[in-house]
Symmetry: C2
Subunit: 200 residues, 2 copies
Amino acid sequence: VLKLYDNPVSGNAYKVRMMLAHLGMRYERIELSVTDRSDREERLGGKNPSLRVPVLEFEDGRCLGESNAILCYLAEGTDYLPDDAFERAQVLQWMFFEQYDHEPNVAVARFLLGWSDDPAAHADVIATKQKLGRKAIGAIERRLAAHDFLVAGRYSVADICLYGYTHMADQAGIDLAGFPAVSAWLARVAAQPGHVVIAA
Amino acid sequence: VLKLYDNPVSGNAYKVRMMLAHLGMRYERIELSVTDRSDREERLGGKNPSLRVPVLEFEDGRCLGESNAILCYLAEGTDYLPDDAFERAQVLQWMFFEQYDHEPNVAVARFLLGWSDDPAAHADVIATKQKLGRKAIGAIERRLAAHDFLVAGRYSVADICLYGYTHMADQAGIDLAGFPAVSAWLARVAAQPGHVVIAA
């Protein structure tokens, strides 16, 4: 059976669970800690160069890391990834944007606020990441002001990818009240058939 | 004609120029500053949500941002991107790894050392990024210890992507002497037909 090296609070792992749920695929969840990472080399060495979750392990032992690479692999040939070459490239554009401008700010601010020993000690870093996180969400807002979904006018892995941490922006101390198009889009994503919540 | 919003010292822009050179494609270079970013909204607004270079603008006005999304788009249907679904996913895995674990450390340490007003003021940040940059290059070293190229045993956009900043690691204050497999791979990449140097 397919194995997902997973963590219940990781938004990156959640993206993959959402995709697997949409596709109705069965898999085994293997939980790794996101606070005590001392066993990462032992458990993920040889499976993912970055030693991060999520990692998807296939029945034949092959492994794939990086949430967005996993999303693209699983979505290939389905309605969740466009066929058109330029639309596919736009999906990737938003996914790379997510990993460079969005996740390192929104996800890390959330982590420091919710899972670090002493959030107050990280106050300056958190404030900087909140500011940059708002900037990234502002870029999504501008796109969604004129589009129902990020690419090609329909729900795709680009939306799954950016939904992951955006829908938990409040846990990063980022108020989405000023982002009405993002808020409406979050509701559209959550209304998709087969949607699952992060705690599922 | 194809337009590349570009900067001569950006490794991300260099990756795209290398790909365009391999493919023998003609394009116009439009230079943006990487130190004075005050004109970014005016010049890249509507073209790339992150307002970063590189951006590729097609003759019909469509634009694509994110160096790695551009590489994948240009490489589609060529020898620089595998056909096999799992190998394509492995290419993406290394590209997302590059933007998350490698570029923010190696490229940013290089930038702070070479282009910031006062590198000494950033000494702690630079030291942290050098440490994390060595860790990322170490992950490439482990892969290349048993493989000539990152994916599928042959040169692909995964190699172009990671060559970009790895080959300038010395400018980030990272000595590659301890990474023999990486050093040998850099030479293999530089020996590819149609290779161009960053200053080209």
